[in-house]
Every structure is written in C-alpha cells, then in structure tokens.
Symmetry: C3
Subunit: 343 residues, 3 copies
C-alpha cells in the first residue's frame, strides 16, 4: 500500500520511532503491508506468531518484528518490543488524509454568535447553531451539525455527517465518524395511567480527549446529569450508549454493543461486539465482556465474563435447546437419584 | 439543572399539576435534580425507594414524593401518587427547546407542489419532495428529507436529519430523532435459480399520534400493505422494524431491538434492549420481553418472557457451555439411570 | 395496490415473464396484492401453501400460482414454477419510482476533477469530492456524499443520504439505502503501554454488481487490504461489516447482523437477523446461521447452525438459567452416579 508516494529509509524509521535497526538502514520503503501481501518496496510486520512461517517467503523489503524473531531473518528489519504498535506508528506515515484547508465552505450555515476559532475547517452543508464553539484546528467534514451551545475541542475531527444535537461537549483530538448522533434525547418515559409521558432530558454529553466514536453510533444526553465518556474511550460502529452512562478512560467497545441507562463502566475495559450491559450496573476496571454476552448484574472483579451457548449444527442444537427448557427438572431428577443411590 | 432561568413556587406547581402541597408553598425552585445532585434552589424527587435514605441529606429546596414518604420529611414537598410522573411533568417546565420560528430556511429545497401548512418551521438543507404534505405547527430541523407523497402530521417534530423515503405518513405530535430512516425498501428477495431478484416494496409506513422514534432507528415500508405503528408507540435508538410489522398502541421498545417482517406486536408491550422477534409471529397485549431475548414463536399469554444464559466468569462459563453441547445426551443418561435404579 | 395507473392483460404478463396462461388472457389487472387483500382489478399470488384456502374467497381478478394449485381454480391464472419469483417480476411493473431526470441539482457541490458520466442524476445537497467517478446512469438522491477517489458504477442507485468516505468502489446496478456508511475507518487499535493508538486504515471497500445495502448499514474500509462484497450480496438494515471482511457472491444477511474483522463468508450463505460472526473465521459456501446466533469458530460444512436457548416465561427460564450456571457440576454428578450404579 503506497498511498502517499512518500518513501523512508529504515534508518529514518528507526530514529523516528525508537526502533532498533537490524541490517541495512539504507533500505527504502514506500508503504506497509502484511507479510503475505508485501511488495519489494514495502515493510511488512510480524505481530501474531501464527504468521511466523511467512517470514521465509515474504517479498517485503524489510520487516518489523521482535528481536527474537529476527535472529534467523536474513534481511533488513526493525526490532520492536511490540511490533503491532510499531507497525501502527509506521503506517501512519503512509496514510493519506483528505486535504482540508482551514476555512468555512460558503454553503455552511453558521449562527452569528457561534465561536469559530482560527484554523478550523468547516465543510459543505455544515450547520453550526447559536452559542456553539469550535476550537482551534478542529475539522468538520460535510453535513456536520453542531447544535446550540455544543463545543468541539481543538484538533477534533468530525469526519462527515455527524450530529451533535444539544449540550454536547467534545474534548481534544477526538474523532467522530459519519452518522454518529450525540446528544439526542435519552429514552425517558413515565407511564401515566394508560399512556406514556415523556421525561425531559435536561442533561448533556461530555466526551473526553482522544476518543473515537464509530459510524452510526448513538450517545444520548443525560436526563438530569451528563452522559460521560472519559479520555481515550474507543467506540466502534453502531454502538448505543443510553442516557447517564459513564465509561471510564481507555475502555474500548466493539461494534453493536450497547449500554443501558445509568450504567457505569470502569477504565481499561473491553466490551465485545454485540454485548449488552443493563441499566444502573457498575462494572469495575479491567473487565472484558465477550461478544454478545449480556451483563445482568454488577461486576466487581476484573476478568473476562461470558454468557450464551456454543454454536452447533441446528439439529443437534435443537435437541439440546429443548432439554434446556427442562434443566431445572433434570437437576431435581439427578438430586433424587443421588438420594436413592447414596444410602 | 436550571436550564431556562425561570422559577416557580411550589404553590404554582401544585396547582398546575394537581399535586398536594406539603409545607411552605412560597418556596421557589428554578430546576429539577436528583436528591443527591440537587442544589438549594432545585426540587428533587423520590420515585425509587432505594434512594429514600438520601432524603435526610439532600440539599433540595423541596422534594416530590409519595405522601407516605413525606411524614418524616421536615421540608417543603409536593405529594404525588406517582412521583416519577409528577417529576416528568415538572421537569418539562425547565426544558429549553431550541427556538424554531415558523418559516422556511432559504437553503431548503421544497417542491412546488408540496403542501406546507401555516406555522411550520423548516430548517436548513431540508428537502421536501413532490406531493408531500406538512401540517400545522410541524417542525423539521436541519437536513430533514420528506420524500414524495409523505405526510407529516400537525405538531410533529423531526429533530434533524430524518429521512422519510416514500409513502410515509406520520401522525400528530410525533417526535423523530436524527438519523432515523422511515420508508426504505423492506428486505424482500426471491431466489431465482442461482441469484436473488428484488421483490418490489409497494406499501408504506403509517405512524400514529404521540409516537417517538429514536436516533438511527429504521422502519421499512411494507411489501404490499403498510408497516404500522399505532398511537403512543415509543421506540428507542437503533431499532429495526422490518416491512409489514404492526406494533400496537402504547408499546415501548428499548435500544437495538428488532422485529422481523410481518410480525404483529400487541398493545402495552415492553420489548427489552437488543431483543429480537422473528417474522410472522403474533405477540398479544401486555407482553414483556427481557433484554437480548429472541422470540421464536407466537405468544398468546401476557407476562414476561426470556431466553439466554446468565453471565459468568469466562472459565466457568466455558465449562458449562461445553456441557450444553451434550445436554440431550446428559438427559438420556439420567433417564437410563432412573430405569436402572427404580425397579 | 395500483401505484402507477397502468394495467396489463394476463396474456401480456404471460408473454413477458414466460408464464403459462390459464383461462381468459384478456383479463386486465392494475396491481398486485395478497389473496386476502386483492381487489377485483388486481392479481394475487399463492406462494406459501398455508394460504391455499384463500383461493376460494379471494376477490382477485387472477392469481399467480403453481400448476398443481390451479386445477380446481375456476378463474384466470398465471402458472409459475416459482410463484413468488413470478410475483416479484410482475410486481415490478407496478412499482412507482420517484422520477429522477438526469442532471445535477444546482445545490450539489461537485469537485472540478470529479468524473461524472452522462445520464447521471445527482440530487440536492450532494457532495462529490476530488477524483471521484460516477458512471453512466447512476443515481444519487439527496445528501449523498462521494468521498475522494470513490467510484460509483453504472446504473447504481444511492437512494439518499449515503456516505462513501474514502476508497470505496461500487459495482453496477447496486442499490444503497439511506444512512449507509461505507468506507469509514476500520476499528484498528494497538495498546501502547497505557493507552490506545490508532492503527491507520489504508485499505478500501469493494462492492460488486447487483448488491443491495440496507439503511444505516456500515461497511468499514480495510486496514491494509480491502473489505470486499462480491456480486449479488444482499445486506439488510443496520448491519455492521468490519474491516477486511470478505462476503461471497449471493450471500444475504438479515438486519442487525454483524461480522468482525477479517472474517470470510462464503457464497450463497444466509445470515439471520442479529447474528454475529467473530473475527478471522472462515465460513464455507451455503451455510445458514439462525437469528441471533454467535459463530465462534470456522465452519467447513454447509448446513444450518444455531446457538442460544429457547424463549420461556421468565419464571421458568430463571430456574433453568440458574441451573445452567452449574451444568458442568451436574454432568459430573451424573457421571458419578453412573459409576455408582454400574458395577
């Protein structure tokens, strides 16, 4: 992948990212690739041991790997304690970002009393409402909607078509992908005799620095207090964060996971794809929830948690699932047998 | 939370919402809050008994609560049979809605033969297509797209970026949040020898009065007849309603739930977050489905229904899940044991 | 449903779609409907045997059905080997598509170096960025965003509000519904000591011919290589396709399903609603996954696969679910009993 046309010598890369050079530092690379996919002008990487055998056949000009893997590697290499992290940094050099010169597209609709700092880029068809504030170096791609009194921190990028409805404050260097909706009404209803009445949602959304929010993800604003994402929270696509949730710093959530109202998730948690967390629960730091598990009670001990049943061919599964419907009865039958057989 | 700058005496609130006044009616409040978060100028509320102990320490000027909870409460209060409902009504006084003067933003693109009633507000970059009708007092925030022949009822609000694709009719006082897509093609496919052909989706979507439709929720239009939401249906974010579904009045569905084609859900149902309902099923009135349950057959008896397994630490779960794969066999072994031991 | 005002004789329909005429070919129909809903000017269809009894009472002018079902049917009919496929084709005649004359709406923002072929229709508020290419007869409804260097194939339709972020190539005759986001960053993170760093997403998205992509569905671009949908892949609404996934031709996925990074799905697969497929797995051709199942290992044998437990009333379910937590122990107890009883 040679996306920018730029090239770097291994010596330059070693110096820039504090990697140890192995072999000829004059080797030039113009892109990054997998071991299997690399061409002779690219640098590959070996992070996952199961690809180790590909070292023998890769066409890569050089490879980023652990020192231990380099001993028998005859070509140039960059040695890293964590080759995946090193690869991520090197790959950043070859990323081509759409050019976005500072300035406001003439089609954008900006309220007279919005505060737009210098160096901000605002794309076509953006709407920035009254009292909103956009800090230095922020970037709004096309169709971004910054509602009244919302705040976009410095260097934060709204890729395109991002909606900040009301009372949303984003920190610095945060990245929000298209279709994300932050600050919509939380789902607050009270049942009044025979029909629902709406509970006003008077809080906001606060997102810290260095967060990422995926495409079509939704984060509702709080009912009374704010919905909060601390720094470096990473949300994938199509995640639903209900009102008054709090997510601790450095927690990452995979696609389609969801958190119900007022739940609190700790720091350094990993929430698997499609997992659900019920409302008003507390999950401590360093908890991993596996994909499509449902958390129904608070978790106070770090570790990995799961629910569900394994996938099986449908015929076998049907038989087992039918027995699950009578599992309590089966348990009682076993207990009865034990009484019968143990005198 | 004092969002509007307005203040009310307790006597005013009691009169307005038919609440019983306890203590000094001259006490003024300028916002609502939780018991723990209230300042000395706010009114708190006690709806959930587990917060009762906070009555002793709250800074609130007054509290909305049940008469039974007021007996030992030394300060001003508003007595309500359902304090959560009363709180919802009081909170509505302190909600600040973005000002939206009637009129059509100059950037909006409105078909010459669209019918726009008086008192309608249409925001920046809206598109209203041929034959569409927008009734009195309706509000379209920025980027709303009202497709050909769609109908938006009186006082209905499309917050922003709502898409009504085709043949969508919304009732009165309905609220639709950003990113919602109503009236897209249902997922109709017929398998023709070795490839799919598309089944035309000739129906529409009909949404009743007083409904709410969450951010990024999708409601497909019917294949032949309409997809229908009756009055006062409340949908949270990221819900998927397939073609020809019918949802009865006063039913509420939590985030990320989904209903497959032609299913019929009764009135006053509660569908938990992430729950799924298969196609062509019928669910009677007053059914509750718990979060992430999958409904695979029709339900004819009101009540609460669930599926899934409890969350456990991953190691324990793995052991149990492995046994699930052989549950039918285990059942047979127990039956055999019973034969052996019972002569 | 008479959506277009046009009418056709049965003889015309029989000739056009190679169906066998049964009875009077001069009968005219102006729409399609279910047997139960048809009026005397419409053609009904019988595809599902459980509606066979409705043949006796339908008001339809004629019916599309299998030859075997026609023997006792006294009125006009069109005989088809697969009546659902025939119905789909006939229904297409009565579908009214919004008129979209070729041309570029004056509000659209088109980069000077974008390549727009002849016969392309570009709606209000579209943005087409530098280097993008739109082929003959493609249609972009309002608010479509074609990012830099993206490619929209001939006759492809982006209904409205579709986002192609970067490096997205769509084939011919593909249909994309509102709110879909293609080509957003894959969710690539590397953990660097105490915080996340972003892994650049340098790949693209390649979608084949004759695909359909549902409302609010997201397809991320690849990390190094491309995310790929082969020809005739059909995705319903709110589906999440992570980076570097490959989906084989003719595979259909129902709403809210999700595929994690680098998984490969074969051809002619059917993925049920809400189902999940973990990353890096391989699923062979002709696999069916039932709704809300989670695929946790590769599948090498065609067939139907499931996970989960059946829905039950909550009280019964709770008892069974509690026993699941000790299923391994129960298994051991049974094994012990067998040792005790079998000498």
């Amino acid at each position: 992948m040679s996306a920018t046309g730029e090239a770097f010598t291994l010596a330059e890369l070693a110096a820039r990212f504090a990697l140890e050079l192995h072999g000829d530092g004059r080797v030039r690379v113009d892109g990054v690739a997998t071991l299997a996919g690399a061409t002779a002008s690219q640098v590959g990487f070996l992070a996952n041991p199961r690809y180790r055998s590909e070292l023998a056949t890769t066409q890569a000009a050089a490879v980023i790997l652990r020192a231990a893997d380099a001993t028998h590697f005859p070509r140039a290499a960059l040695l890293a304690q964590d080759p995946y992290v090193a690869y991520a940094k090197v790959a950043g050099l070859f990323e081509r970002r759409p050019a976005c010169a500072p300035g406001i597209h003439p089609s954008a609709v900006i309220a007279a009393d919005a505060h737009i700092a210098s160096g901000v880029a605002i794309g076509a068809f953006c709407v920035v409402e009254s009292g909103a504030r956009i800090d230095e170096g922020a970037l709004l791609g096309p169709y971004c909607h910054v509602g009244a009194d919302c705040h976009v921190g410095a260097q934060t990028r709204l890729v395109a078509r991002v909606t900040l409805v009301a009372r949303v404050r984003l920190g610095k260097r945060t990245l929000v992908h298209p279709g994300a909706v932050l600050g919509a009404d939380g789902f607050g209803l009270a049942f009044d005799r025979d029909r629902w009445i709406k509970v006003p949602q008077l809080g906001g959304v606060v997102v810290g620095d260095d967060c990422e929010i995926g495409a079509n993800t939704t984060i509702d604003r709080g009912a009374l207090e704010d919905t909060v994402l601390e720094d470096d929270v990473r949300l994938d696509n199509q995640i639903q964060i209900a009102h008054n949730v709090r997510i601790g710093a450095h927690t990452a959530m995979a696609g389609c996971s969801a958190v119900a109202g007022s739940a609190r998730i700790g720091r350094y948690c990993l929430i698997g794809g499609g997992a659900g967390i019920l409302g008003h629960l507390e999950i401590c730091d360093k908890v991993t929830i596996t994909s499509m598990a449902l958390v129904t009670h608070s978790i106070a001990t770090p570790g990995e948690y799961s629910s569900g049943t394994p996938i099986q061919d449908n015929r076998t599964w049907r038989r087992n699932a039918a027995r699950f419907k009578h599992l309590d009865e089966l348990h009682r039958r076993v207990t009865a047998l034990e009484k019968d057989t143990k005198p």
